[in-house]
Symmetry: C2
Subunit: 337 residues, 2 copies
């Protein structure tokens, strides 16, 4: 970045500009091969143990939304980042930044929801920190969660491992979380509102690993959406990715709202979905495991990995054409998670 540049909302989008900032400003400073992997959770070694370590700060607005709140989102999000390394999440930390004057009753609800989400995911919150800042210095509440998980022997999941011929699986419908936040933020009211898909995927991942220990890539398409995440994988693995629009599941009301509001569901955040890149021999078995789970009942094989064009994601559209799907450029929805 240039000397007088300012940080823009785009820098936090999870898309193209976020990636550029990480590559320009962060990788050189914290120069080490673990960070440079750029997976959802870092793989670290302590003694003989392979661990996953991940962090995320949650700044979602509104803090309460259909299907969840900032508390369970913060637990599920970091649990999922760990699970995307194939790890069994074990321990979480919680860092709260609270605006002076925030209602204690709301804090209590958020904490209780965090506790329930942790119980459901079978992780322990073992350490925490609370800062309170004067009125106006933060908007209500921000929550950081960091987590540690244990990577089972033989599991080797990384964005670098997609190979031509691999199948791309998506565990369910796109864009539910983003549209739930957006409609709720804008005060749009419906008889049956769109519900966020926030959920912990760690148990599902372990069931997938039970039928295919050699899953190549796992990723949850949060900020930046499916389009950005597939681009990350294509870039890390230096392969092409072909997906078919007609195979991508999306709820009719969510599709209609995306159309109405002018958003491309490929770039909208999900908080309870995963992408798996799987050897063709195992793809059907893993798909069956996904579909047998309530969190994966709408799972589909949406495409496959190809040799060329390396680093590119190509979408076959419903009407038969093809188009390049780039990383998200610009910020569609700030404070989505």
């Amino acid at each position: 970045m240039k000397k007088n540049d300012k940080i823009l909302l785009d820098h936090g989008s999870g898309g193209k500009i976020s990636h550029a900032m990480i590559e320009e400003m962060m990788l050189p400073v914290f120069d080490n091969p673990i960070l440079a992997q750029l997976n959802d959770g870092a793989e670290i070694k302590v003694g003989d143990e392979r661990l996953a370590f991940s962090t995320d700060s949650y700044v979602v607005d509104p803090i309460f939304f259909p299907g969840g709140n900032i508390g369970d989102l913060a637990v599920n999000g970091t649990v999922n980042d760990l699970a995307m390394s194939g790890a069994v999440p074990m321990f979480l930390s919680v860092g709260l930044i609270i605006e002076e004057g925030f209602p204690a009753a709301d804090l209590n609800v958020i904490l209780c929801q965090m506790g329930l989400a942790a119980k459901k995911a079978v992780v322990l919150v073992v350490t925490g920190d609370t800062k309170v800042v004067p009125r106006g210095a933060a908007d209500k509440i921000f929550i950081n969660t960091s987590g540690i998980g244990r990577i089972p022997d033989g599991v080797q999941i990384s964005g670098h491992r997609a190979r031509p011929g691999d199948k791309i699986l998506l565990s369910g419908t796109l864009a539910d979380h983003g549209i739930a936040i957006l409609t709720s933020r804008e005060g749009m009211r419906f008889d049956s509102p769109v519900i966020s898909d926030t959920a912990a995927l760690n148990h599902l991942v372990q069931r997938m690993l039970a039928v295919d220990r050699d899953i190549h890539v796992l990723r949850d398409p949060t900020r930046g959406g499916l389009g950005t995440t597939l681009n990350e994988i294509a870039g890390q693995s230096k392969v092409g990715i072909h997906i078919a629009e007609e195979r991508i599941p999306i709820k009719p009301d969510v599709a209609a709202l995306c159309e109405l509001l002018g958003f491309d569901p490929l770039y909208i955040a999900n908080e309870g979905k995963l992408i798996a890149v799987i050897s063709p021999d195992h793809a059907d078995a893993v798909l069956a495991v996904l579909r047998a789970d309530p969190l994966g009942k709408d799972a589909c094989i949406i495409g496959e990995v190809v040799q060329t064009p390396a680093g590119r994601v190509i979408l076959q559209t419903r009407i038969g054409g093809t188009r390049i799907v780039d990383m998200l450029t610009g910020e569609q929805l700030p404070r989505i998670c």
Copy 2:
């Protein structure tokens, strides 16, 4: 807390009200014996490894101050929390929350200082997250760091292990960080300003452990200061603590500013100091190690652990009387770290 209560600055002070909130609202919800230990870093077991895990969010204002900035403070602070379990800090995560419009050049300085601090402490930043919020939704930049360290065999440090007869060591002068922040925030100018003591204490701790593997308690007196930290130890260990005012080192200019501004240095935050509770047989050897290190050159034995009154900290004043030192009540200095 009652139904209509609001979160106050006091809830983030690190003092009495912070503790009450943790005990009322957090321990019941996240109910587990590791969190309930309430040490600076949680001790967790993964396989055969004993690890320390800690988190802190940094909201200091101003973000640049004499002796440091929010970046190195965030690295040193979490390194120190890990070190206070006797752990060798290994890995850090960094979660940034940045206000839209923040100067990229400032971000770059902060990141570079984080990188330098990490190098000095010999820890790797292995994972991160960046969120950008719209102008006015946060004040400039907040940084969360979480960390993982390995606890060497035989080391068993905990706030619960202070025993009557133990000596209380303090590694250096009090109140430097708090007064540096306060004077800088208020725009007070001096020929030689008070400099924050922000520093990583992990190497010093390992040198202390080399002469006394059985250090009972380590704690860094940050928010809430020496007074609050000693009360925590007295409460956890169910012992009394006697300290002598005349033995507590403080720089003359810092003492004068505390007097002038009406602050009690016992409650002011430090960011490069530690308290050690040590068996009387080893106290002199550990003191010698401290004094041989630039970070511990002003170290003193400031008091000792007694049987009664359990849970109380008693100060022998310079003029010969005694007074009870309670935990910090109220918030002296918001956004001190």
